[in-house]
Symmetry: C2
Amino acid sequence: MHHLPQGYAYGAAAAGFKKAGRPDLGLIVSRTPAVCAGVFTTNLFQAAPVLACRRSLEASPEVRAVVVNSGQANACTGEQGLEDCETVRNLVGDLAGVPASSVLPASTGVIGPRLRLELWRNALPELGRSLGQAGPEDVARAMMTTDTKPKLASRAVSFPGGEVRLLGMAKGAGMIGPNMATMLAFLVCDARVDAAWWQDLLRVEADRSFNNIIVDGDTSTNDTALALANGASGVEVQTRADREMLAQAVREVLLELSYLLVQDAEGGTKVARIRVSGAANDADAQLVARAVGTSPLVKTALFGQDANWGRVVCAAGRSGATFAPQDLTLHFGEVLVFAQGRPEPGDMDALLKPVMQAPEVPIVISLGQGPGQCEVLASDLTREYVSINADYRS
Amino acid sequence: MHHLPQGYAYGAAAAGFKKAGRPDLGLIVSRTPAVCAGVFTTNLFQAAPVLACRRSLEASPEVRAVVVNSGQANACTGEQGLEDCETVRNLVGDLAGVPASSVLPASTGVIGPRLRLELWRNALPELGRSLGQAGPEDVARAMMTTDTKPKLASRAVSFPGGEVRLLGMAKGAGMIGPNMATMLAFLVCDARVDAAWWQDLLRVEADRSFNNIIVDGDTSTNDTALALANGASGVEVQTRADREMLAQAVREVLLELSYLLVQDAEGGTKVARIRVSGAANDADAQLVARAVGTSPLVKTALFGQDANWGRVVCAAGRSGATFAPQDLTLHFGEVLVFAQGRPEPGDMDALLKPVMQAPEVPIVISLGQGPGQCEVLASDLTREYVSINADYRS
């Protein structure tokens, strides 16, 4: 069972954006105004709901509701898309009895088509009836596109003043690259927090988690991570020690969601945990980790459970990071496979067989240059990924 | 029939590096010393034959022979790999009756394993017997890994002093990214040329052709393009006008080979011709073209013949190029699909169906910022690509 933050109600409905009968509309309402932090895609093409969220948070960090739909991205839809977004916020504000300006929208799905507002209107009664009856898992399910399961993670933290709960919901599956939050994620928390600190926290922790996972390296137009804290627990998190405790819980929830996102990548069968250390700096470590995690050749070898370590060395060598080739060492799991510019002796295929067959494959690279490090989680590349994305719209 | 430059002999053999009986060893010998230009991978891990070629060309541009094997890359093999490379050069030099130092080696295949020198030694009699009997197509066939067909292109150019012939052989298929020549390619020409001009020419023309094609974005450890000019035609290409004529022929041959490489990409069914114009500069145009050509989501949509143009816009938006989103226009073929930040009206799926079904799909992007432009050829991403690379070594 998940820890449920106090003071939030959830709703979900099947509006028909996706195939008939599948939930595709989710709503989170906070009983009282919540402080909200947000991080968003860095893509130049920002979907209408992303622009709406950003403008809204710039005006005020106080939020009452988050509404999310799957099946339609409302991206690349121009002024019409922004208008449609405002219509949705008004409809949902009326439904939930909160100001439209305090409703943050998020969408995921096909880029280009206009929102089907008649479906929104028709679905509102169902959404209204479910509000307070549904749970966060229903919202997580309504966000799904090619995800195979809803993704949630939660923590409870005991403070001197009482317990605080934190719950995250996320969707991922494809179009996941490390240049921003790379999916939709909503965190609800019942602590009382300072808005500026909360925003900084989300930015830093999203960088450590959501920005270090790779499915296919594409950064979407709709990436949004929102974190709400409504104070319903009555616990104010203000001292340095308390903040560190809450930060730790946020970090754990985001990392857990990140892992779930990679585990449920489109067509994915493996999680590669790519650890790079010994780089001249963190940026170089990130270049290497991302090159390895994005390489189609590394990813297909993972799928094939093939210990083709040469592809990892090759990807590191073309990453743009600066290092001396003879200083690189590569382990798969605990097994050293490459050092001093040459393969280690031994029957690597036999030694690495159990490593390659495991659901998580640790790829450990040391560059021998300095203190820089980075860890990335990456999925494999499978025939199923191709099938899903060749026929996504049909 | 191809135009055959004078003064070259070709040989090929099945050494057993690949499956038994398939040719995997090729040899080109020039009757007289040829001026040789070379461009090589930018990967930090440079295979032993790449290092040998570079050192050799730094010492002297005069070359007598090129020997190429598939099935083994001799990459990431350390000092042993360099020694094995020297052994091969000596063996081939003896066979062809030329100095070992004038033999340039090239290898392609699995990274890591040591060259199987006993197979080399056993194959030399067959290679010797075929020398002068075989043709360039046999060499092109011996270079193949996952290529489905040998790739050749040729031109003849008439100069006041006589005719010059130019012939290129290339292999590609996978591990093809735009950061260098990205495959093996050998050009033979019977003009007499200045070594420095010839080297500059190859570098410039490789940038325009081999460096603008994308299969999977991986840059290999073994990329090598060599161009030999032996003067056997008796025609010296020296004046500015003559040089421009020969340069044009080189350009055409390299572009033709590039097209063949993308057409025969691993598992490929389509060639996307991605034209970007109106960028602030050429570098920005290249960022956009490469982001689109590398995007797994664009590539799977191409495979699925799905006019999912939103993925192209999305890839442009995350490419790192600077432009105003509302200035981007996108055509598929002649059909305008996106402009002023919103989709064009019309039934795009119906309009684009013939475009998506064609073997070549033109994706035309204008950024409306300045004079920068770039054209990239890219393959699609298919289940077959995954199958090939999941099981490459088995």
